[in-house]
């Protein structure tokens, strides 16, 4: 009782620091104010990415009026999924894996060292899933029917995609909830902050469950393409492989993002935060190295047990070796080496290579090693429009990410009143 009183006093003392939002009108005004760009908007990046977004939007108009065929995408009857599904849905979800892995480390294992990275990782995951959904709307031919997946009683209960889409939706909600303390702090909502803060652990546990399920689910999507995916990439254990690779993919994304943020969002970080960074990176790199090691061993064992290792001597074999050695084993060793020597540069380089490896892996199961034996004329390669739209969506995601980082306490510490709530 006494503590509560103290707290109220403390909060009241700081009242003038936080925005007073009591109605929707207040929120709208505040939001409009916050929406305005800060600083000089006419930087090179802004101009380039802005035009990419506008261009992408125009191309989207064409896509929605003429359909998915030429000239919009190069998809064909032999290659129903291409760049969009491969990049956003398959790889994007893996890149967002950082959200659940960090939540596990921080909330469940209680390692507070990584807490400063958590909010950014969760935000990143949230945005990836939101834009995943956007891409699904773009990539699915009959997008207006997508509510059928969630409403009505037409559920294809034996469909992996139904499960995955539901998990996407639930995870978006859960990660939004996980992220809501930052929103509450931004809006200065004490009560809301208190409520969501106390439920953080539950939200984390739920988020981890949903993530584990849908990371594996993305692998399970391709499991029925047994007849089409090259045996070096196909295995009935694909769900496991996707799950394990999402662990290091997510962490590699966190490392990559952290290294960029330290340069781009310098103003968001205090000195304490910045100094702790390298220590945090080393820890993450170690976990990454371990996960890659596990993935590498399992992949080799799977290929061996299914009798596919004999196939490495041809063209696809080279491509597989390049992936499993050059883009998995090498960054794994670099992670471990960098962690040992506490060398952030090696770790960052490793994270970039590992991310490319994940991208390659997902592309392989979606179109590179999918129907691999078709002649060149029937092969799929992304069209320019597909690239441009994907770039536009990525730019938009970066814009939203940047806007939130700059407004909300994601990288920087929250207001003091929030810290006090956490302490009690």
């Amino acid at each position: 009782m006494a503590g509560e009183k103290l707290e109220t006093i403390a909060v009241e003392q700081k009242t003038e620091d936080r925005p007073q939002i009591n109605s929707f009108g207040d929120f709208w005004d505040y939001f409009k104010k916050e929406l305005k760009p800060r600083g000089n908007p006419a930087t090179a990046f802004n101009v380039l990415s802005g035009s990419a977004i506008i261009f992408g939007a125009i191309l989207l108009l064409i896509r929605f009026t003429t359909g998915l065929g030429q000239p919009v995408t190069n998809l064909s009857q032999s290659f129903p999924w291409g760049l969009w599904m491969g990049f956003y849905v398959m790889s994007g979800a893996a890149f967002a894996g950082g959200g659940y892995v960090l939540a596990f480390i921080v909330y469940i294992l209680g390692v507070d060292k990584y807490r400063p990275l958590l909010r950014a990782a969760v935000l990143n995951a949230l945005l990836f899933y939101v834009f995943c959904s956007v891409i699904m709307v773009i990539a699915f031919g009959r997008w207006w029917n997508i509510p059928n997946v969630f409403l009505g009683n037409q559920f294809g209960a034996s469909s992996v995609l139904l499960v995955v889409m539901w998990l996407f939706l639930l995870y978006i909600l859960t990660s939004a909830f996980e992220f809501s303390p930052a929103v509450a702090e931004w809006l200065g909502k004490v009560k809301m902050r208190k409520t969501v803060g106390s439920l953080a652990m539950g939200a984390a546990a739920l988020g981890i469950t949903l993530s584990v399920l849908h990371q594996a689910g993305l692998g399970a999507l391709m499991v029925m393409a047994k007849a089409k995916i090259h045996p070096l990439w196909y295995s009935e254990m694909l769900p496991w492989m996707f799950l394990i690779s999402s662990v290091y993919a997510g962490l590699a994304m966190v490392i990559f993002e952290a290294s960029i943020s330290t340069k781009v969002f310098t103003d968001q970080m205090d000195d304490e935060n910045r100094q702790a960074r390298s220590d945090v990176l080393v820890g993450l790199a170690r976990i990454c190295g371990g996960a890659i090691f596990a993935y590498f061993c399992l992949d080799i064992i799977l290929a061996q047990s299914e009798g596919d290792l004999g196939l490495v001597r041809n063209r696809m074999g080279y491509w597989w070796l390049l992936e499993i050695v050059g883009l998995v084993a090498v960054p794994g060793l670099m992670f471990i080496h960098g962690a040992q020597k506490k060398n952030p540069v090696t770790i960052q380089a490793a994270s970039v290579i590992a991310l490319i490896g994940i991208l390659m892996n997902r592309y392989n199961s979606v179109f590179l090693a999918y129907n691999w034996n078709l002649p060149f004329a029937e092969k799929y390669y992304p069209s320019a429009v597909e690239f441009l739209i994907a770039i536009g969506v990525v730019c938009l995601q970066i814009w939203v990410f940047r806007w939130i980082i700059n407004r909300l306490p994601v990288m920087r510490k929250g207001p003091e009143w929030a810290a006090k709530i956490d302490k009690n």
């Binding site: 063209r315 696809m316 080279y318 491509w319 390049l322 691999w372 002649p375 060149f376 092969k379 390669y381």
Partner: protein, 581 residues
């Protein structure tokens, strides 16, 4: 600065690797590369690859020019490269000595003998061959596939050898080539009247019965495959007789040839200082002379007398205790229609019944005498061989639709069996008469709608079938009666039926019979019978629609949904299964 450079280098390496990989992935060509095929016989070349021992080759195969080496060592003889056995016969293997087994030993043996000899010749400043890897293992050979055309010592060759040996050299001893092997004494012997084919003992790939298997095993231990022994026996003998030919004085040679051949046959481009070798025409030694890649057909061998081993012309196949009447089998007629003896006599030249007993047993490999004669698929059985002939295009038109003569599938009738099991010598029936009495043309117009009626030249077709039947001895024998040919199309008509030639539509209804899905509807009955026969007989006419039909109008709707649904809805039991009342 150096760190930046390192990054640049690493990223460039990765970019190159990935770009290279992508080009590989996108350039996968599933069509197999066409290898160039070269015939060995053409210029006496031999491929040295031994993939059975080396597996995947590290270097391209060697294509060895045998002719060149042969010419170079004409004086010294074959024994320069090939080993000689104690009977002074050249054994045509290479290398001379291979000490032990395995890849390295074999490779070393080749390299030692080839390269040593080439070096030696070079030291003696004679013309020599390559000593470095790539000059023998030439890159261009990698995609080359050598083709070894077959050589067959058939009845023609056999007859020629018997004749020439007798006429020219006065030798009528078959033991020069034929022999048997006694497994106990481990000795080769020859006894007259027991000659067999080389294949029975020396074909190491084929599984034989216990008697031949013992001999084959002994042959296999010595590596005496058909390939090896035929070169050994043929070539040693040919080499011997070449010398004999070459020793004939020139005057005599001229005397013999002057009348028969033109000068430029032996003196090409009228170069009278040199003459071609005798072996160009006689006693072949070049690969291509025997390896022609061709089997002589039965037709080509028609007039060649078969080897005389005392076989009877007519054999009565009479199995004791079998209730079937005996079959009078004309061995003479059948051997004239076979290219080899071993096509039927698969286990030595003996009677079928000597192994295949009435009840079957291990000595006949579990095959009783009935199967031995009637097995549908065995090439050696009567039925099997007849079925093969019935699959020829002349016969297949009808026989494709007639079940094979099989004890299981056919409805055995007395007269079918009796055509062979007559208990007496059957005479060849008279050729079938050409018919003038059947309908000349038949209009098939029951179904004419989209297409016009088809006119079927009924009499011409029958007469063509009669001609085909009369041309073949087999067909003449079995088609004893013109009714047999009618049954080819009028398949269900029987002599005891009320109507002898019912119409197709009597049985085949115009629509699909949904209660009996197997039943052929009229349109299919016509098309399958007509087109099937035309296709199986590989006819060029009567395959396309317009060759039988005239197109009437623009195509009707093929599928007539509206008219039919009312009638069928209640009649279909299939449908009722899913829509129970």
């Amino acid at each position: 600065m150096s760190r930046k450079l390192l990054f640049l280098v690493i990223s460039v390496i990765y970019l190159v690797l990935i770009a290279f990989g992508l080009t590989l992935v996108y350039s996968i060509d599933t069509s197999k590369p066409v290898k160039q095929t070269v015939s060995m016989a053409k210029d006496n070349k031999i491929s040295i690859a031994h993939t059975e021992i080396f597996g995947r080759l590290q270097r391209p195969q060697v294509v060895f020019d045998h002719k060149k080496h042969e010419d170079a060592y004409r004086k010294e003889g074959c024994s320069v490269c090939h080993p000689v056995n104690d009977k002074k016969q050249v054994i045509f293997t290479f290398p001379k000595q291979v000490r032990g087994k395995g890849r390295k030993v074999l490779m070393k043996a080749y390299h030692d003998e080839c390269i040593d000899c080439h070096k030696k010749s070079a030291a003696e400043s004679k013309p020599t061959g390559p000593v470095t890897c790539n000059n023998c293992h030439k890159k261009e050979f990698a995609r080359l596939r050598m083709n070894y055309p077959v050589a067959e010592f058939d009845f023609y060759d056999h007859n020629k050898h018997v004749r020439v040996m007798k006429e020219k050299f006065g030798k009528s001893d078959c033991g020069q080539c034929h022999h048997t092997y006694d497994v106990k004494d481990k000795k080769i012997s020859y006894s007259k009247g027991a000659e067999e084919s080389c294949y029975y003992c020396h074909d190491l790939n084929k599984k034989r019965g216990p008697e031949f298997a013992a001999i084959t095993k002994a042959a296999a231990e010595k590596g005496l495959s058909v390939e090896r022994i035929s070169h050994q026996s043929c070539l040693n003998c040919h080499l011997e007789y070449r010398t004999a030919y070459e020793q004939v004085p020139n005057e005599q040679v001229h005397k013999i040839h002057r009348e028969k051949v033109a000068c430029n046959v032996c003196h090409p481009s009228n170069d009278f200082k040199h003459a071609a070798s005798c072996t160009d025409c006689h006693i072949p030694l070049d690969c291509a002379k025997c390896h022609t890649g061709k089997y002589r057909t039965v037709e080509e061998l028609k007039d060649v007398p078969r080897p005389d081993r005392g076989q009877k012309d007519m054999v009565s196949l009479d199995t004791r205790n079998a209730r079937m009447k005996s079959v009078s089998f004309s061995h003479k007629a059948h051997q004239a229609d076979s290219r080899t003896c071993r096509g039927c006599h698969h286990e030595g030249l003996r009677a079928c019944a000597s192994c295949h007993s009435l009840t079957g047993g291990p000595e006949g490999n579990g095959i009783n005498v009935a199967s031995a004669y009637h097995s549908v698929f065995a090439g050696q059985s009567c039925t099997g061989c007849h079925n093969k002939i019935k699959a020829n295009k002349e016969c297949a038109g009808c026989h494709y639709y007639v079940s094979a003569m099989n004890i299981e599938t056919m409805n055995s009738k007395k007269d079918t069996c009796a055509s062979c099991h007559a208990g007496k010598q059957m005479s060849m029936p008279k050729p079938l008469p050409y018919s003038g009495s059947v309908k000349e043309d038949v209009q098939i117009d029951v179904l004419a709608k989209e297409f016009g009626a088809a006119s079927f030249p009924h009499r011409d077709v029958l007469n063509k079938l009669v001609r085909i039947s009369n041309d073949s001895k087999l067909a003449t024998y079995f088609h004893r009666d013109i009714q047999t040919l009618c049954k080819g199309c009028h398949h269900q008509s029987s002599s005891s039926a009320e109507v002898q030639m019912p119409q197709c539509r009597n049985c085949h209804m115009a629509d699909n019979d949904r209660h009996h899905i197997n039943k052929t509807r009229l349109i299919s009955a016509y098309h399958r019978q007509c087109l099937g026969c035309h296709e199986k007989m590989e006819m060029t006419k009567g395959i396309k629609c317009s060759e039988c039909h005239k197109k009437n109008t623009a195509p009707l709707e093929i599928t007539q949904l509206k008219n039919q649904n009312v009638v069928r809805q209640n009649t279909s039991t299939i449908l009722n299964a899913w829509h129970p009342k």
